[in-house]
Each structure stands twice: as C-alpha cells, then as structure tokens.
C-alpha cells in the first residue's frame, strides 16, 4: 500500500548563529560553534537534514560553587577550584562550549569585581580554545559592572554575554554591539515575553544572527512541560516565518536539575528514588534530551556522565537515516 508521507514545508527557518571567533576571524578560539539553521522540526530528516547538530555546553563556575550537589563535587574533584582547569577538563571530555557563570563572590570570598571577572575570563580563554558564554550573577547592576569590562577586554571574540532580561537589556546589548559579541536573552517561560525581548533587543540595532535566546525551562518534575511546550511553540512560530522567534535556543538542564531535591540530596530520601548519582544523571539527561527534541540548540550541562550520554543521543538523532 503506497502511503504518501506528509512532509511539512515551512516558509521560515531558524537563524544560523556562530559562537566564538578564531584567529583569522578576529578572535583567539581554536574552533567556533555554529548552531541554528533548522528548516524543519527537530530531526525530521525525511524533510530536511539537521544543518547543525545541537551542541553541549558545560557550565564552569568562576569561583568554586558553594551549593553544588555532592554528586557533582565528586565527579569533578579538585578541578572545581580553578575555572581554567575546569574548562580545560570540559573540553577534554568533549564539550562544545563553555558557559562561564559568575556569582556574587569574587576572589577570596570578596564581592565579584570587574578586575576579577576580566582575569577569570582571560585565564579560561587561555586554557581552552572553545567558544564562551559568559553569564553575570543575574543582578542588573552587578551584571553591568562586570559584563561591560569583559566585553571590552575580549573585543572580537564573539562571546555570548548574558543574561539580557527585559529590565536591563540596553547596557548589555550596547556592550555586545560595540565589541562584536553576541547576547543571550532570557525570558520566563512565555512565548510572548520571549518575542518581546527579542524585538526590544533588535530595535536597538543588534542583528538577529547575534542573539541566542533562553526561553527558560523547568527541570523534570519541576515544570519541564511548560518550558517544553514554550520551546515547541517558539520553534513552530519560527518555521512559520515569525522573525522574532527564529533564534536558536539555549536551555540549562544542568542548573535546573541539580538544584532539585532528587539530584541534590542523597540522604533521608525514599527508597523508591533509587541510587543517587545515577538518578541525578538520569534527571539531567532526560531533561536535556526532552528539550533537545523540543528544539534546543544548546543544552548547558553539569555532570560529565551526562555529557557522554547526551552526546551519544545527539549523534544518534542527527545520524541521517532514511526512515
């Protein structure tokens, strides 16, 4: 029985965005990462090939993280003490990107400062050739105080700066525009809010191929379904031709899952939850893969074992087969 396979033909596509710049391109990265470009829903190879596979970013904290799960502390060991060493280890483990996350603390437990921030960024860039995403602690004034000097000190590197939110987008967008960087816009789990921030940022003159968006997703068990559906809707809108949704998406299963009780806590939990470390990795990988199938272009992870598994899943999903 011949059956005609329904193929969607979409008028729109996701923007292609390149993160990082090599020596030839005015930066110092040994490789760049290109994401986006999708013309179909994720992995519908019978319609169109996946132009750029989803990539894995590993999160590196600028100062040793105080509140990370013991499972993660054990997995990384002493590398956590030095962001440069840590970033190098991520690269060796097969990461595509490094997300350098600043907190409120700088060196010696003092408050984070511009000097500290610039220095950490430079050290990390010296130790790894991967492109970088640099995130402030998420408080507008402090973010501006470190991200602007970082942007100035790394002109031309095509770093992704974040987080840009509706209340503080102007400064970061201006810093990115002045120094050939990219920005990461983050909005709280809502299609319209995501579009609105993208409109505001592009209204300032920032080209669309220099924006990545984080539509925010919850962890498995903690609202993953909302983020999942927001991502599916954004991607559908992008393919339907809505320019303000045609941005590649970055999501953070690592941050979200490792703060859940399931991943963070090992003692005093029900037997039905099973073995701690494996549960934590499952929590992170299930979240990541579900979101990749909803359209994520970048997933930011924490556990090295998750990196291995999600990488294998991405390889399997992008392997072009005729179904």
């Amino acid at each position: 029985m011949p059956v005609e396979i329904p193929k969607d033909s979409w008028p729109g596509s996701v923007n292609t965005v390149t993160l990082g710049a090599t020596g030839d391109q005015g930066g110092s990265r040994t490789s760049t990462v290109t994401i986006g470009g999708e013309q179909s829903l994720p992995f519908m190879h019978f319609e169109n090939p996946t132009p750029h596979r989803p990539v894995i970013a590993m999160e590196v904290a600028a100062a040793r993280p105080a509140d990370w799960s013991a499972v993660l502390l054990e997995a990384w060991g002493s590398t956590l003490d030095d962001p440069a060493v840590w970033a190098r280890a991520c690269e060796d483990a097969g990461a595509d990107l490094i997300v350098l996350q600043f907190g409120l603390k700088g060196s010696d437990d003092g408050p984070v400062s511009a000097e500290f921030a610039v220095e950490v960024v430079k050290e990390v860039m010296d130790s790894t050739g991967l492109p970088l995403v640099v995130l402030g602690p998420g408080q507008a004034e402090i973010d501006n105080s470190i991200l602007v000097p970082i942007a100035d000190a790394t002109k031309g590197e095509r770093i992704v700066l974040g987080l840009c939110e509706e209340g503080n987008y102007r400064t970061i967008v201006a810093a990115a525009m002045a120094n050939d960087h990219l920005v990461l816009g983050k909005t709280p789990m809502d299609v319209n809010l995501a579009k609105q921030l993208n409109i505001l940022m592009t209204d300032m003159g920032l080209p669309l191929d220099r924006i990545v968006m984080d539509p925010t997703t919850g962890a498995l068990g903690y609202g993953i379904e909302y983020g999942y559906s927001v991502m599916e809707r954004l991607r559908l809108a992008a393919l339907q031709g809505d320019a303000m949704t045609q941005l590649p998406m970055l999501v953070t299963p690592g941050v979200e899952t490792w703060k859940t009780k399931e991943s963070k806590v090992g003692a005093g939990i029900p037997d039905e939850w099973g073995e701690w470390a494996e549960r934590g990795v499952n929590w992170e990988t299930l979240t990541a893969v579900a979101l990749i199938e909803a359209g994520a272009d970048v997933v930011v992870l924490r556990h090295p074992q998750s990196l291995v598994r999600v990488r294998a899943a991405i390889a399997e999903l992008t392997a072009s087969e005729t179904a």
Partner: protein, 639 residues
C-alpha cells in the same frame, strides 16, 4: 533658482520664496509663528493652513480629510511652495479643531417621534373632579379612581398608605383640580400604581421627570429627563464614592460581603447618586418629588450593591448573581432622592460579569438592528465586549482596571475641566503640547489624554515597545524619581495644582494592562466564534474615559484593532444612553430584556487562550506587529 512670492493674509508684505522651501519656513520669515506640536513631522495635523491660490506640493496629507483638501488645506510643515502663493493662516482656535481621527461622542437627542402617550409607562393626567355632595357621597379614593378610569382607561388603582393619608387634604385644597401621576403597563384595563397626587396648578409649572442612571465601578452618571418631551434637562457624573473601599468590583464584593460592608457600600453609592440628583435639581430648579421614575444601568455587582443584595456569589465559582431580572421597585425602598412612591427600574443583566450596563449599551449601540457584524467595546474598569449582529450576539467581560477613567494613575482624573485630553510631543525636543478640557491650566490626565500621551511617547521614542521610559534621552522631562522612571507632561508652574504633572512607569504599565485586557478580550471573543476581525463592519466604542477618542492613537497603542478609521464610532457612555432610551420607551425596555435573553456569554478564563492573548497585547502596539499594519507603516516612515 526660481523665486516665488508668498502672501499671507495677516501680513501686508509678501515674502520671497526660494525653491524647495516649506510653508512654515516662509511663514517664519514673514513673522508668523505657526505652532508645530509634533515638531514639524506631519504627525499632529495642527499646523494646517489654507492655500488660497498658487501651486504647492503636499508631501504628506495623512492628517487631512478630502473635505480639508478640497477646501485648500495643507500642513505647513509638510508643504513645499512651488509657485506664487496666497496663504490664509487660521486663528489658533481654529487650529484646535478636531481631526478626522477624533471621534466625538454624539449629543443626546430625543428619539424621533417620541410620544409619551404610547411609549411612557409613567404618565401624569390632569383631573377635574366634581366635589362630593349629599347626592354624591362617593369616597375621595373612589372619586379619583373613577375619574382616572374615564380619562385613561386604567381599571384598577393601587397606592401606598401614605398617599391615602394626604389624599383628602390635597383634593380639597386644590379645589378638586388635581394632577395624578401613575405608572402602568399601558394595556387597556390593567392595574396602575399611584405615584403622586398634587394640585393641578402646581403640576402646570413643573415637568414630569425621570432619571437615567449609570452606576459604573468608577464613575456614576445621571441624566435628568423631562418625560413628557423626552428632553435631557441635565447631565452630570461623579466618581463613585465606593472607590475609597476598593477600585475594582472584586474589592467591592469582598468588602461588601463582610460585616456592615454591604450597608456601607450601599450608603456610599446612594450618596453619590443623590448628590448628583440634588445638584441636578438645584441647577434646573426642579423639585425632587417631580421625579417619578428612574431607570438604572450598571454592572451586576454595582446593581447588587445599590439594592443591598449580597454580591458574594458573583465572584465565587460557579459565578452566579443573586438576580438578573429585577422586579419594578419603589423609590423609597431603594433610597434614591426622588418621589418616595416613584418607580425604580433596574435593567436586566446576563451574568456575573455582564450586567445591565452592557444590555443597555447594546440597545444604545443598536447592535440588534443591523445584519452587519458589529463589535461593541465598552471600555471601563470592567471591559465588556459584545460581538454580533441582528442574528446573534456573543459577549465577554475582562478586567481592565480603572486606568481609562483616570483612576489608579498617579495624576489621573475624570474627563472634566482641567483634564489633559490630548497631547502632542515634538519628536526632536520631546516637548509636549496639551489640549485641556475647558482651556484652563491642567490638573491631571483623563483616559483620552493617557491614550494620546502614551501613543505620542511611543512614536517619539520616549518609551520603547515594552513601555520602558528611555532615561538616556537628553531632556529634563525624562527623569528618575522615587517612584521610578517618569515623564513630565506639565511643569508645576503650568499646572493648576502647582506640582509637576507626570506619567510614571507604573502608570504606563497600568495603561498597558488595561488596553491589553480589552484587546485580548475582543480577539478571543472573535476567535471563539471564528469571526475574523477584518470582517467587522463597525466598531462601536462606549465608555466614559473622555469626551472623545482619537482612533488613530488608540490603534497606535494597540487598544483598538487596526481597521479603517471610518469603521469606528465613539458613543460615549452607552450604559446611561441605553437607560435613557428604556426610561422613555416601554418598547426599548422590552428590547433590553430580549437582548439580555439572547446574548451568549463566553467565559474567558476557561483556558489559557485569554492569558496568551493578553501577554501578547502587553506591548506597544502588540507583540505581533503584523496585526497593526498602519502602525508598522508609520514607524517605518518615522524611521
């Protein structure tokens, strides 16, 4: 280089013109200052001059109607002189004329062919009674009843005991020449109820009056009406004093459901109504006892609170009212300052959040009299929306908040004397020009003014699409205060209140929320019944946010759909207008009952659709700019 001459009507000397010069530039050299509120960008249309003769090239005619063009008008800032010309500069007050995009509420007019004999349920007849005698020992009451039957056909007459106490005295002191006011359904042989008996001589100098009342959550409006001629003798409105107990219906319900809260709210709204009635009586010299009938529109909560019915069930699932169809009530039990035996007709509602204000509004808007698909939007604290035609009507309600009525806004006020009702902002200097109701120093900003102000701030880049004020602009009018970012609309020395009149970020947020709720409301409603908004032939706007609405600016902020301007009509307060029609005409009153029975209420909170549409509309003009092609085009032009 071609040289032309230009002659202005107010200046004797002609001036020389070089090629490519604009009328404003030429006028400036002639010593005539033409005011340009928008900074010469062709946006505000306030610099119109009349070209009496000669050749000019109009770069933009966006603000001029065909009639304007036919009369020779041109915008001084957009018009290039290309020949010897003669120009008339209208005096400033002429420039203040309304634009084609200003839609002004119509004046009240008596319905054509109004005949109280046929239409009115309350009537007054003069009766000349023969005095009793030993031959005719009929009792006083029987004498009146019989005379009334002879005069009107009314078969049975009822009255309060108090009427009967005074009957004998009035009959004798008037020498048996009396005027009887009564209410009756109008069919032959039915029961009538006595409202008033007075000496005929007294009635001769006193019109028989009625009240049309709209009780809004924020504003109460009354019209004092001569029931015999149908003429509106006086119109007045005031903030509902209940506001001090909460701005929205929910606060009122909660307040009214606790302890003596209900009594308090009832007293407050009665105080508001009676204050207005007494003022109207004073202004017109009418005795309040001459008011025999009141017809009331208002949302379901306001109606419950006025009539002292516990409103609690309105806000709780499954959202039912205590009563939608009220019986005819007696004035004294209601508490309105009119004749104690007068009748109060509380109009019927449909549902908890679709009340008599909207059924009356639908009548006033004439929705059921056209086969064309019509959208009726009542912009108020509770936004109510009706879509339909003579065939069908669907309705929904959404909570917009009181911003459009000037409440909940730092310097907001009602559309009264001293209210800024329209604003133009110069795109280069960010200086505003305001039109103030009554041409006095401003006291605050009314709903129309807010719409206009935010539209101008958006077009000139003072706020971005998210409504954030751009603090980096080079003007002292944009500043940060303890309340956050704000824009100064009028400096203290220009204002009546001796303080800067500002609009704050929070005000803008409130307005955005209000307009987003309304926009989302009618979009979801249209979606539910699968009607495309572009197929809507007429958009009727009701509400008491101003004397008029500038459709272009209301579209510009995304309050109204982007349809051709001529499809819009501003009707003003449709609730009181509908109450007025029902007050006069029993047929109109019956039609309201039919409207209430046929409207289908759509609950917006049933799923996420409304919320989605709302957040999407929480942007200037809208997250999806393709819904606003005219605004998009204007933005490209401003570039």
């Amino acid at each position: 280089m071609a040289g032309y001459t230009a002659k202005f009507d107010t200046v004797t000397e002609a001036v020389m013109v070089s090629a490519g010069e604009l009328v404003v530039e030429v006028a400036d050299r002639a010593g005539i200052e033409i005011h340009q509120p928008c900074g010469g960008q062709g946006r505000c249309g306030r610099c119109a001059v009349r070209i009496e003769s000669g050749r000019v090239r109009r770069r933009s005619v966006l603000r001029l109607s065909q009639a304007d063009l036919d009369a020779g008008y041109a915008l001084a800032c957009q018009t290039v002189v290309e020949g010897d010309v003669s120009i008339v500069v209208p005096p400033p007050e002429r420039i203040q004329r309304r634009l084609t995009t200003d839609h002004i509420a119509p004046e009240s007019v008596v319905p054509e062919g109004y005949d109280p004999e046929k239409a009115q349920t309350v009537r007054r007849v003069l009766l000349s009674l023969s005095p009793p005698s030993m031959d005719d020992q009929t009792d006083d009451w029987g004498r009146v009843a019989m005379a009334l039957r002879r005069a009107t056909g009314v078969d049975r007459l009822e009255a309060s005991l108090e009427q009967i106490w005074h009957l004998g005295g009035i009959l004798r002191s008037s020498d048996w020449q009396i005027a009887v006011t009564f209410v009756a359904g109008g069919t032959e042989g039915e029961t009538a109820r006595l409202i008033r008996v007075q000496p005929a001589t007294e009635a001769e100098n006193e019109p028989l009056c009625g009240l049309a009342i709209d009780i809004g959550t924020t504003t109460v409006t009354i019209w004092l009406v001569d029931l015999t001629t149908g003429r509106v003798l006086h119109q007045a409105s005031e903030y509902n004093q209940q506001i001090t107990r909460g701005e929205d219906v929910i606060s009122r319900i909660i307040y009214g459901s606790k302890g003596a809260g209900g009594d308090d709210l009832r007293a407050l709204v009665l105080e508001t109504i009676n204050g207005l009635v007494e003022a109207a009586c004073r202004r017109t010299g009418i005795d309040h006892r001459a008011i025999a009938k009141a017809t009331i529109g208002g949302n379901s909560t306001m109606m419950h609170l006025l009539l002292g019915v516990p409103p609690e069930s309105i806000r709780l699932e499954p959202f039912v009212t205590a009563i939608n169809n009220w019986p005819l009530l007696r004035a004294e039990e209601v508490g309105i300052a009119m004749h104690a035996d007068g009748v109060v007709d509380a109009l019927p509602g449909v549902a908890s959040y679709v009340g008599a204000d909207i059924t009356a509004g639908v009548l006033a808007a004439g929705l059921r009299s056209t086969p064309d698909t019509t959208l009726f939007i009542d912009v108020g604290t509770n936004g109510e929306i009706v879509l339909g035609s003579s065939e069908w009507l669907v309705t929904c309600a959404c909570s917009a908040g009181p911003a459009f009525e000037g409440a909940g806004i730092l310097h907001g006020m009602r559309a009264d004397k001293g209210a800024i009702e329209e604003v133009w902002i110069d795109g280069n200097t960010y200086e505003p020009t305001c039109r103030v109701i009554g041409n006095v120093p401003p006291r605050g900003i009314c709903g129309s003014g807010l719409i206009s102000l935010v539209a101008e701030m958006f077009v000139t880049g003072i706020v971005d699409k998210g409504g954030h004020i751009n603090l980096t602009l080079e003007t002292p009018r944009v500043r940060r205060s303890v309340k956050g970012a704000e824009y100064v609309v009028a400096w203290a020395d220009e204002a009546e209140t001796d303080q800067d009149i500002v609009i704050t970020r929070v005000d803008i947020d409130n307005l955005l929320r209000a307009k987003a709720a309304i926009y989302a409301g009618f979009n979801v409603l249209a979606d539910v019944v699968s009607v495309g908004l572009e197929s809507v032939q007429k958009v009727l706007i009701g509400g008491s946010f101003g004397k008029y609405i500038n459709v272009e600016k209301a579209v510009g902020i995304g309050l109204l759909p982007d349809l051709p301007w001529e499809r819009f009509d501003y009707l003003g307060n449709t609730s009181v207008r509908g109450a007025y029609l029902a007050l006069l005409d029993r047929e109109a009153r019956a039609e309201i009952a039919r409207i209430a029975a046929s409207m289908i209420y759509i609950e917006l909170s049933a799923d996420n659709t409304f919320y989605e549409a709302f957040t999407s509309a929480m942007f200037l003009p809208h997250t999806d700019l393709s819904r606003f092609p005219s605004v998009a085009a204007a933005m490209t032009n401003e570039g």
